[in-house]
């Protein structure tokens, strides 16, 4: 049995500025993994480079033991919500159906089975009543749920999600984390770019601390420590001290 994802010596750059430098890690199956790091640390870039959306300078990515390009059907992707134009003329169900496109090949169109599956996926994120709603009329949280439903429709074994919790209301955050836990129960692996340090210990089995280079990676209890966070967020200690009373520091007292 191969690991869902193995990344070896991955580097990427915009123009000449390196944004990812020699990143290596191996993901265990059936885990929820959080990617944590300051702004500009290369978190989104890491996901996009794994997916081949940004050319890599060096390194190797294998998905269940094979190169990414031959394993696309095993991967579901949730881009950042702001990356698309929500005024596009289409409705929620149609966006979820787009998750099926990868499986349809060059000429086939989504059929009744695909529509039924898309409806089920919308129901799983609590959006069944909004299937026919024009996407610009959904709230930010609802849009994010539609994106998650679309990833579910991809019916993948490894999910990569770029800040699914960004700018959503509390109800949506709860719906999303319930869904992630359900995916985990089905032995799926979910990698999430995450910003909110206060929820890390509650949500994730493992964390990956990133700031251009890999700072630390492993089970949340052992890796999510004040020392590691200090190093990852170097030079932004004020930010960490504000958070100090909340979570990462209290970990050490125990």
């Amino acid at each position: 049995m191969h690991n869902p994802l193995t990344v070896n010596g991955l580097s990427a750059a915009y123009q000449k500025k390196p944004v990812l430098d020699n990143v290596s890690f191996q993901v265990n199956g059936g885990e929820l993994i959080g990617i944590i790091g300051p702004n500009g640390a290369g978190k989104s870039t890491l996901i996009k480079t794994i997916l081949g959306l940004i050319p890599r300078l060096s390194g190797e990515v294998t998905v269940f033991g094979k190169p990414y390009s031959s394993q696309r059907k095993l991967i579901g992707y949730v881009p950042q919500r702001e990356s698309v134009d929500w005024d596009f003329p289409t409705n929620a169900l149609d966006v979820v159906l787009m998750g099926r496109y990868g499986r349809l090949g060059w000429f086939r169109r989504p059929g009744l089975d695909d529509k039924r599956l898309a409806m089920e996926c919308l129901a799983k994120v609590g959006m069944a009543d909004y299937a026919g709603r024009q996407i610009s009329q959904l709230s930010g949280g609802q849009q994010q749920r539609v994106f998650l439903a679309r990833a579910l429709a991809q019916d993948a074994r490894l999910y990569l999600m770029d800040e699914p919790f960004a700018g959503v209301d509390a109800a949506t955050e709860k719906a999303i984390i319930t869904l992630l836990q359900e995916l985990k129960k089905q032995e799926k692996t979910v990698i999430v770019v995450h910003h909110d340090l206060s929820t890390v210990k509650e949500y994730f089995d493992s964390v990956l601390l990133l700031n251009v280079t890999l700072q630390a990676y492993g089970p949340t209890e052992t890796v999510f420590t004040a020392a590691n966070l200090n190093r990852t967020y170097g030079g932004r200690l004020g930010f960490l001290e504000r958070l100090g009373h909340m979570d990462p520091f209290s970990a050490e007292g125990r």
Binding site: S69, R72, V84, T90, N91, M98, W106
Partner: protein, 295 residues
């Protein structure tokens, strides 16, 4: 018969441009359409100089190649750090200038009129007939536009889901293995062909109006992509008819009147669209305000 051919030519131009324009507008690439319509000029001139004829097939190929070169150069400059609007401006004006030079240098030998390229003259298109498939009464422009429209319809129909996903979410498209760059260049190649098929009728400048205004109108009226394409074609064809009869009454440029008619329809949609129109928005705001004060 003249009326019929002019209206048919105009409607074919409108249909070709309206379908492709929808994808340009949704991808926020309206200006790239503008750039292509100008920079196919050297392609037309080179094809003409090489072949020595105004043979449509050579022109279509020449224009398609130059259209792709345009898009490629714009991307090349942009990736090397030039602002995207600046690189569009640089590429299309420079290529257009090369086209103007090529045509003016050879103006004496060749029967390719700069005015005609720039402004078009739809009123003359029906005189220029060509014998094909044993029929010799159909104008060349109608053959060319008919072929282009058929090709556009076939390509968009076959690859509808790819074009849609590339327009809405290119990152997901690439992640699931759709060759995004291929469909990008395919769309741009079709835009170039539509432009060059249309330029004899409406000219390189006004063709942009037919590419952008009807889709922008349709965008205000619907929330479904398929319906948007249909409405865009209908608006384009209605503009053609209104424009033609207005031109007859005013004794003015037909192409100019067609684009002005398209603009008039856009303004109507802008004001009266049931969902996004200025008036509908005003009314719903007033209602909300009234409810607010009543409660």
């Amino acid at each position: 018969m003249t009326d019929f051919w002019i209206l048919l030519t105009g409607s074919l131009v409108a249909a070709c441009c309206a379908i492709l324009g929808v994808f340009l507008v949704l991808r926020k690439m309206a200006l790239v359409g503008d750039a292509i319509s100008h920079s196919v000029l050297p392609g037309i001139a080179i094809a003409f100089l090489l072949s020595g004829t105004r043979d449509s097939a050579f022109m279509l190929i020449g224009a398609a190649v130059l259209g792709l070169v345009t898009v490629f150069l714009i991307q090349l400059f942009h990736q090397s750090g030039v602002q995207s609007d600046a690189s569009i401006g640089i590429v299309f004006t420079a290529l257009f200038a090369v086209g103007v030079i090529l045509i003016s240098l050879n103006a004496r030998q060749v029967d390719l009129d700069l005015d005609c390229v720039l402004y078009g003259e739809i009123a003359y298109t029906h005189w220029n007939t060509i014998s094909l498939l044993g029929i010799d009464t159909i104008p060349k422009a109608v053959w060319m536009l008919g072929f282009t429209l058929l090709l556009i319809t076939a390509v968009i129909f076959l690859f509808y889901k790819q074009f849609k996903l590339c327009a809405f979410d290119p990152a997901l498209a690439a992640a699931v293995g759709i060759p995004v760059a291929l469909f990008h260049y395919l769309l741009m190649g079709l835009v170039s062909m539509a432009t060059v098929s249309s330029f004899e009728s409406v000219g390189a400048i006004l063709v942009v109006g037919m590419l952008i205004i009807p889709p922008a109108t349709a965008y205000l009226l619907t929330e479904k992509l398929g319906v948007m394409i249909g409405l865009s074609v209908v608006t384009g064809i209605v503009s053609t008819f209104i424009g033609y009869y207005a031109a007859v009454v005013l004794d003015a440029s037909i192409a100019g009147c067609m684009v002005t008619a398209a603009l008039a329809l856009f303004v109507l949609a802008f004001l009266f669209s049931p969902s996004q129109g200025v008036i509908a928005r005003y009314v719903s705001r007033r209602k909300a305000a009234l409810r607010h004060t009543a409660s």
